[in-house]
Assembly symmetry: C3
Homo-oligomer: 257 residues x 3
């Protein structure tokens, strides 16, 4: 039986403590795209790159060691099943501290929340590739509140399965056209955190992908969007007091005219 | 694409603003009976008359222009799909203001909530008839709180599919008889807002219709009931600071002895 | 039709009043094990003994007359369908008073909540046996908060369908082993209300039974556990200001080695 009284192992490759709400924030965002993930650990923090099965969206995340209460790691990789990580999160309330430690010998990751110890087998990372994140230079930059985007996404929900994202020098516009109905979110420059483009740019995106990632971003977060004509959209934002940095790329839907 | 930057059109046949909670109150009540509705607009307000497909219940509603923050209408009719109207309501919180305007040329009704613009195609009203609301003179008048009726209806829920509604000179009684169990709500004259009848009157009604309309009435509303022996029951109440007046008629279930 | 204006019958075999939250507490616990129950009434209070269909668990409950606001009973038995009792509870909020009275002539139990009267046919108790509750002398005694056990049970939920319960002279340990994962709750003597055993004792129990009863116990309750090696576990606790006493026995799952 798993020995529940093990104290922190000073020789562990990875050992850390963080607030459960920080871990929950991470997991919400990653699980908007994938079910399993490979974290790459260094003494300075964790990173991950993941692409969904259909290769429509890609996420790159950097978790600085400052996002943790305590963090120790040697260079290594850990593969995690996100559903299992969610079951650990259900054991904790937002203010609880979650301790985690890799048990290298047994190939397990051990979580401690209060008096509960949860051991989970890590995934084999050998088959999990590192997607190459393209370096895009896009014409328009927009800074907008996650709450405004969430409202726009909700409004679009029953209208169509794709959404047009447009920036003009004066406005940011999300719009959706159905057979009989249409909906749009239009925010003027004065209500945006940032709006910078010389010309009008516009691309069409799959609504479900866009919706999943926006719903996973905490309220009150400013999302930096980079946009161009018929190009991927880049979403940049941070959570956990700016110690978790997210770069999300979503491929456009090209309409054949 | 729908132009999101249109300002209020001074030539629109219909243009109004109201609190989202007022619109939600209306929609809840109407959708207890029908899925599509025809509003008849005049410069003084809106009215609607609707009957359900089985012709068991009928609703007549008068929305005075004072229920709106701003109201302008020429004489016209607008047909609306209530499910779509509910999707507009989901964009707003109770205190939000909803602006609406008919775009006569395109046959659309346009809703604005914050930065969101939602355009919906109106329904063709030519096939939607105006039911004739009968002028009934019923023996008993009862005034009772919607909360008390909601409790009575909930209690009846699993017992039977019809409910007996009775008034005596001293009490108002809702009762339901099942094969093994029974339930009743009995409220004395002293706890009623009104009770006026010379003799005992009683009719039997389908529980689902009665339940649907009572659950749609806001808590804390006094419902005026008019009742007779084996006659339709009339429910009269107002919402939105008495600026929305509702007259609901429910046909009795006649027991063949 | 059931006469709703009957006042309390001084000749009733059973007549009582209690807070709806007290009745709800009882019903939650009993319905964790059975759907129908026979209460044995005496002038001093009510008792029940019940065993589940699979004979895996047994509950013995004593409801002292002090748990009631008013209590009068002659020696008798009442059989109740717990689902119907739950429908009565849904008519009341936690602070409401529920009055109940046996209508011996009609074989009905009558509940009154506010202006609502609910009559239900009682069950025939002649076929409902009284299980004999074994008198066990178990080596270990543990006192632990229901909240701590609820957390442990939740953690075990997806891992396995049985749970090991262990006491050592120093700790109380709940643990669950799956194929790849494991979870444990380990609470030291200093964090327990009580821990008394000379040697380590351990038994294995079906998780669903253990989970159902623990989830039905109110938060903040101290549960007294008695435990031995491959023996039934005894859970003792009280609710309703110690006026409702519960003794729950759960048979072990014996592993054939």
């Amino acid at each position: 039986m798993f020995d529940t009284e093990t104290e922190t192992d000073p020789d562990a490759q990875f050992s850390a403590e963080l607030k459960s709400e920080t871990l929950k924030g991470l997991v919400n965002i990653i699980s908007a795209l994938v079910d399993e993930v490979k974290f790459t650990l260094t003494p300075e923090g964790m990173t991950l790159k993941a692409v969904d099965a259909a290769h429509v969206a890609m996420i790159e995340m950097k978790v600085e060691k400052e996002a943790f209460i305590r963090y120790h790691a040697e260079d290594c990789e850990i593969g995690i099943d996100l559903d299992k990580l969610k079951s650990v999160l259900r054991l904790a309330s937002g203010v609880d501290v979650i301790r985690m430690e890799q048990d290298a010998e047994k190939g397990k990751l051990i979580f401690k929340v209060g008096n509960i110890t949860r051991a989970m087998t890590v995934l084999d990372t050998s088959g999990m590739s590192d997607p190459k994140v393209p370096d895009l230079h896009l014409k328009a930059s927009i800074g907008i509140s996650s709450d405004e985007l969430k409202r726009g996404i909700s409004a679009a929900d029953t209208i169509s399965d794709h959404v047009s994202v447009k920036a003009t020098p004066e406005r940011f516009i999300l719009s959706c056209e159905g057979d009989t109905d249409s909906v749009s979110l239009s925010v003027g420059k004065e209500s945006l955190a940032e709006l910078s483009t010389d010309t009008e740019v516009c691309s069409l995106f799959p609504l479900d992908y866009f919706s999943n990632i926006i719903k996973a971003v905490p309220g009150g977060t400013v999302i930096h969007i980079e946009l161009d004509n018929d190009y991927p959209m880049k979403l940049l934002f941070s959570i956990a007091d700016r110690h978790v940095l997210v770069n999300y790329l979503l491929a456009p839907r090209i309409e054949s005219d």
